[in-house]
Amino acid sequence: MALLEVERLTKFYGDSRALSDVTFKIKKGQFVAVIGPSGSGKTTLIRCINRLIDASDGSIRYDKEDILALKGAALRHARAKIGMIFQHYNLVYRLTVIENVLHGRLGYKSSIAGVLGMYTEEEKTKAVEVLQLLGLEDYVYRRCDQLSGGQKQRVGIARALVQDPRMILCDEPISSLDPSSAKIIMDYLRRIQKDLGITILVNLHQVDVAKRYAERILGFNAGHLVFDGPPSELNKKRIHEIYGTEAGELIID
């Protein structure tokens, strides 16, 4: 049973096509990496799924719902069930760690309760548990601008996890991090997928990381889905098709 079904998805920016006729399905609990050169449509794809960007054509079904048809409260509710983490963490840096994590609950709350920041005891307990899971229990009341890059990204993951999502979208989650922090973040994502059964769809710049962590890889070039298969099938020739010949060689070496 597919959790996410993307069909003939197309996105235009003015005259240029960022995505053309993209079709794929993702099963519940899969770890899927999306690779491709800059400007190949990876980021557009991720943002179309939770409607941060409106697609031009095609359809997206998530958890049996037609995402592109949703409006208002229904859209909010669908977004609440999809977590998202960002390259630049996108936290409110002046707020504490726990305040940022609780933002993940806003999609489930009445507007006024969210505006006033009135969270239930259950929600707060859940936030603290998630922070413990991510090794941030000593930073609950730390302001986010005082954290390191890796810690900020873990707060980002915590915010996504308190949403109780069935899928987490990750937009280049490790591109701003040093190698050791990057490894920690990727390991957490794998644990979340294995232990909690949450589907992970992650944009990556690094082919080797994608091959190491993902069960399935989607390769994009100029808005087209040009590769869809397990890492074992991603050989030199296939990488060349995704990145163009010269770049492919550089990445392999």
Binding site: R94, T96, I98, E99, L102, G117, Y119, E121, K124, T125, V128, E137, D138, V140, Y141, R143
Partner: protein, 288 residues
């Protein structure tokens, strides 16, 4: 769980933590709010009926922007017709622009010299601090007062206006210039110093060429500000130009259509300059 704070009475998890920053934000908000309320309660209106005045203002706005017109005699072109009034007004606008230009030029030259002396990487901290402190005091005196003070010694007119307006221009540009100098790569200066270049050589070979476009952008932004200042000085300090006509139209002739006419002209020039300034800011990533 030790790191989690709980409310001692209810046992609930605490989310919001008081910080010095938050406290001060609240204190400042409260003080400003209290002063504002006090101000509204005590402001003197000299018996003006505020309701009636508001209705009048709205009506005046309609006349100003709906039927703008200048009177020939007010612009010294008796019997010249509306085109003649328009060209006379354009000439006055040009006078205001000229005052702004001269002020910017004089200010820029002085600021450039002082800016080189105030940039921390080009001079010692003490000189830098003295200049910056001096400028802070100069900037505390409103421009109109500088102009009027100089008018005592030099007479009302362009000389007093330009010198008076230059004070704030120097203050503003000095800050902008010295900061762009301070952004200059420390290594470049060291390299030149090591090769035996003199202070003047460093300035002319490294500092000025590498920050020229930046300096010009800042200068233009100040020119834009100085246009508004020049309008004000024409109105308040008899410096000449379109501002004086605005003052006469509103203060003596009570001619609403003429206020509208002049306001339109000023607005047009200001909008064009803002457009240019915005482009410059975008290109050079300037935040003022």
């Amino acid at each position: 769980m030790t790191a989690v704070k709980r409310n001692l009475r209810t046992g609930r998890i605490i989310v919001k933590r008081p910080t010095a920053a938050k406290r001060w934000v609240n204190v400042v908000l409260l003080v400003l709010l209290a002063l504002t309320i006090w101000g509204f309660l005590t402001i003197e209106t000299k018996g003006t009926d505020l309701g009636k005045a508001t209705v009048d203002t709205i009506r005046y706005f309609g006349i100003m922007f709906g039927r703008p017109a200048g009177v020939d005699t007010h612009f010294g072109v008796s019997g010249a017709g509306s085109w003649g009034v328009f060209t006379a007004a354009l000439r006055l606008l040009l006078v205001t622009l000229a005052l702004a230009f001269l002020t910017t030029l004089v200010g820029a030259i002085i600021a450039l010299i002082l800016g080189l002396l105030a940039a921390r990487n080009l001079t010692n901290t003490r000189t830098s601090n003295i200049i910056k402190g001096f400028v802070a005091v100069i900037r505390a005196v409103p421009t109109v007062l500088w102009v009027l003070i100089f008018a005592i010694g030099a007479g009302l007119g362009a000389v007093a206006a330009v010198i008076g307006m230059s004070f704030h221009t120097v203050g503003y540009l000095l800050k902008a210039y010295s900061e762009s100098f301070e952004e200059l790569d420390e290594g470049v200066i060291d390299a030149l110093r090591a090769s035996g270049a003199s202070w003047l050589q460093i300035v002319f070979q490294a500092v000025l060429p590498s920050s020229a476009t930046y300096l010009l952008s800042w200068t233009f932004i100040r020119f834009e500000i100085n246009f508004a200042v020049a309008v004000a000085m024409g109105a308040a300090a008899g410096a000449g130009g379109i501002g004086f006509n605005l003052f006469m139209a509103a203060g003596y002739f009570f001619d609403i259509s003429e206020i509208g006419f002049i306001t339109y002209l000023i607005l047009a020039v200001a909008l064009i300059m803002e457009l240019v300034a915005t482009q410059l800011k975008k290109r050079y990533h300037i935040h003022d």
